[in-house]
Symmetry: C2
Amino acid sequence: MQTLTIGQVARAANIGVETLRYYEREGLLPPPARSSNGYRRYPLDSVRRLGFIRHAKSLGFSLADIAELLNLYTDPEADSGAVKQLAQARLADIDAKIAALQQMRSALAAVTHQCSGDAMSRSECPILDALSGTDN
Amino acid sequence: MQTLTIGQVARAANIGVETLRYYEREGLLPPPARSSNGYRRYPLDSVRRLGFIRHAKSLGFSLADIAELLNLYTDPEADSGAVKQLAQARLADIDAKIAALQQMRSALAAVTHQCSGDAMSRSECPILDALSGTDN
DNA sequence: ATTGACCCTGTAGTAGACTACAGGGTTTAG
DNA sequence: CTAAACCCTGTAGTCTACTACAGGGTCAAT
């Protein structure tokens, strides 16, 4: 089975070598096999896993959240019921984020059109209105 | 004009007093007027502004991003053209975030349905597929 | 055989976003 | 009039997520 060194994975996933070792310590990457000289030998799909991590991070998930999400799908020990519950909680989080972003989006779009070049009335600020709603 | 003390604002916005002073140092809140004893006197709409900050933070925006967003609407010095450009860049960011969240959402939903209680094939993992796509 | 580009472990430093004192003044209820 | 509950400034500590050494071994090419 073909494997990659840490440097090859780092380049492929556009992530630093030190960050990879950090992710391993933090449980986001399973400890890879080692070759006789002690070098880490990563399976090819590590790059895909790192792609997921990078995307999820950019969406505001913490590394702890991401570890949990990844474990939903890779941990064969996980109880299906609990997995399903967790997945559904995450779904709700994601829906809330999408809704908030859409509110923000339409507020920004509105202002982009309103501020056509002349000073608009700052007192009626759509972005504050759009997102200062009741608690989340 | 009615004003609020820092403690009243903190309670209303569900944010710590120390955090409010921190936000002021970081430029997210304009320095409020002071009463004769040196206490900060916040205008009523500070609570709304803080609501916006809290929401934007939960969507993965950094404090620097949020300060910039707020200045789009409250800085009368801002050049309209630059404002519009910045707003449009932010719009694009937001659209990208929404799209990524929607991919993640459908992947999670798919798995929630697939994992109906029996062990599924881990090798065909929809969530990794959904989000390990090409770079952002 | 040695140089340069890798790899290893372990520890320390950084940036962002708080959070917690220390040390001191003010207001208000009893 | 004094104790609790506020407010002030300033500095230091915490947590997350890296990022950067130090000190040393490995490998491929010249």
